[in-house]
């Protein structure tokens, strides 16, 4: 297992850290004058001029022209939520257990369920009030079915934030699923890699 080496950030003989040597502030007028002359002759001002001129010549621009260019976001980024479907059947993964509703610390998830004709619990309404949501990720973490996850839509400017959280908007459309575009979420609550190897038999001693 890799262990980060401990960096000693205390100032001591061994560590690379040291106190910056700051001269005492000048007190008398003559000392102040000497400091000004010293600084003028040392050319500190010209060092500053050179530094910015160097950047101008190097022309190493770091601007991202946002609407045209976008930076990649991390796979575990917690943006607007998504409801996923089962890969095999296309049914909704959500079983209406209500755990996300319960755990939500800003109390912004609301769901309505009913028993459908197949005696299966069906989620009729599912909404997240994004005005209150703090994107903590607890709902995704607690979800036993990996049904509610965070997506990658971070551009949530709209006339109404409710536009992002209607159930139909969050749910993966069926044609997306069949074309294999539904993405599993590697963030909170996802199955960790090598999960199968870690599964142990429940001892029968109970």
């Amino acid at each position: 297992m890799h262990v980060e080496p401990f960096t000693d950030r205390n100032v001591s003989e061994q560590s690379a850290y040291y106190y910056v040597d700051i001269e005492n502030y000048p007190v008398t007028g003559w000392d102040k004058f000497k400091q000004v002359v010293k600084r003028s002759i040392k050319g500190e001002l010209f060092v500053g001029l050179w530094v910015v001129m160097r950047e101008l010549i190097k022309f190493d621009i770091h601007t991202v022209q946002y609407p045209k260019e976008k930076l990649p976001i991390g796979p575990r980024y917690r943006a607007v939520h998504k409801l996923l479907r089962l890969w095999e059947s296309g049914f909704e993964r959500c079983i209406g257990c209500g755990l996300c509703e319960k755990i939500c610390i800003s109390d912004c998830i609301r769901m309505d369920t009913r028993i459908d004709e197949n005696s299966r619990k069906e989620v009729t309404e599912y909404s997240i009030n994004l005005g209150r949501c703090i994107f903590c990720g607890y709902c995704a973490e607690v979800c036993p079915e990996l049904a509610i996850v965070h997506g990658d839509r971070y551009e949530n400017a709209s006339e109404q934030r409710a536009h992002f959280v209607i159930k139909d908007d969050m749910l993966t459309p069926l044609d997306f699923l069949t074309s294999g575009q539904q993405k599993e979420y590697p963030g909170f609550g996802a199955i960790t890699p090598h999960e199968d190897e870690r599964v142990a038999k429940t001892p029968l001693a109970y």
Binding site: V36, V51, M53, E55, L56, H62, T63, Q65
Partner: protein, 334 residues
């Protein structure tokens, strides 16, 4: 006074007004771009190719914006102050020769509105009157930040008038004339004749003072954003604020012209090459204003006063005395 002269003068005035208003606009574009490149940014990019039309967009915005006059301001003075800044900046341009004499369609053109024999004195005097823009605007605004800015501008401008005056005195003693054309002609014949070579101290002092006169960055305390919002411009909006802006940038261009003409040989012998050199020198001085803004920190008002009265002024006085002694010795008076 004949009609031709009046028409010629009016044409010159209109040309200078238009050219330098446009230049002030492009100065803002240029400043944004240069600062951006020095800070690894791109600057304005969206309006027009490479953001070139940003100037037009800003102009339209300033002209069409609502002109708000707050309730408790002293209305006539509040309305007048931006005009003072812009007007004095352009009035100062009257005595500056922007280009050597040339002949167009058989008509000899002097590219100077009024070749008065006290040219530089006039320029400095009118630029000094420009102080009333920030001072009156700040005092009339009924805003504490504006008031602080007004007090600072009065202190800074008056103090640094002393430096400009004393720094100019030494070169003027050598030239023996106050006309900018005479000063220019004194320096014809190569770099060794430039006053910056014979009067380096005066040149540096005047350059430092120019930053205070135009309120540019190391001495930007008149409208220092992080301390006093926009200073005297806080309560202004729309084109009134735009006039302050045009005045500031026009002032930068004019003081660059003055420095180039007095210290760096101006347009030299009056050939086209010399005239282009003048423009290059002006461009350098203007670029330097932007360059320092990217590189140097602002200093405190008390440091600015200290620098003025305890460092620069004594140096300027000593410089004047030494110049006088040298001139006396050269003339064989001693």
């Amino acid at each position: 006074m004949d009609v031709a002269f009046i028409i010629e003068t009016i044409v010159k005035i209109v040309v200078i007004l238009l050219v330098f208003s446009a230049l002030a606009g492009f100065g803002t574009y240029f400043e944004r771009k240069v600062l951006a490149f020095m800070q690894r940014r791109l600057g304005p990019m969206h309006v027009g190719p490479y953001g070139l039309l940003q100037v037009a967009a800003d102009g339209i915005k300033l002209f069409t914006k609502e002109d708000i006059i707050p309730q408790n301001v002293v209305k006539p003075i509040f309305k007048l102050a931006p005009v003072i800044t812009a007007a004095t900046a352009f009035m100062a341009a009257a005595a500056i020769p922007f280009w050597p004499e040339f002949t167009a369609f058989g008509y000899k053109v002097h590219p100077i509105v009024a070749d008065v024999n006290v040219g530089i004195l006039y320029v400095m005097a009118v630029m000094a009157i420009g102080l009333y823009g920030p001072l009156l605007g700040g005092m009339a605004s009924a805003n504490k930040f504006s008031l602080i800015s007004a007090a600072r501008s009065a202190a800074v401008f008056i103090s640094y008038e002393v430096i400009t005056g004393l720094a100019l005195l030494a070169p003027l003693m050598m030239v023996g004339s106050l006309s900018l054309i005479d000063i220019n002609n004194y320096q014809t014949g190569g770099i060794s004749n430039w006053i910056a070579v014979s009067q380096p101290v005066a040149f540096i002092l005047f350059w430092i003072a120019a930053f205070a006169e135009t309120g540019r960055t190391p001495f930007h305390l008149v409208a220092n954003d992080h301390e006093i919002i926009d200073g005297f411009g806080t309560e202004y909006s729309g084109m009134r604020w735009g006039l302050f802006f045009i005045g500031e940038y026009a002032n930068m261009f004019f003081i660059s012209f003055v420095m180039a003409i007095i210290f760096l040989g101006g347009y030299g012998d009056g050939s086209i090459a010399g005239a282009l050199q003048l423009l290059l020198k002006v461009a350098f001085f203007f670029f330097f204003f932007l360059w320092t803004r990217a590189a140097w920190p602002d200093i405190r008002p008390d440091q600015l006063m200290w620098l003025c009265w305890k460092v620069l002024m004594p140096i300027a006085v000593v410089n004047v005395v030494i110049t006088g002694v040298v001139i006396l010795i050269k003339q064989g008076g001693m």
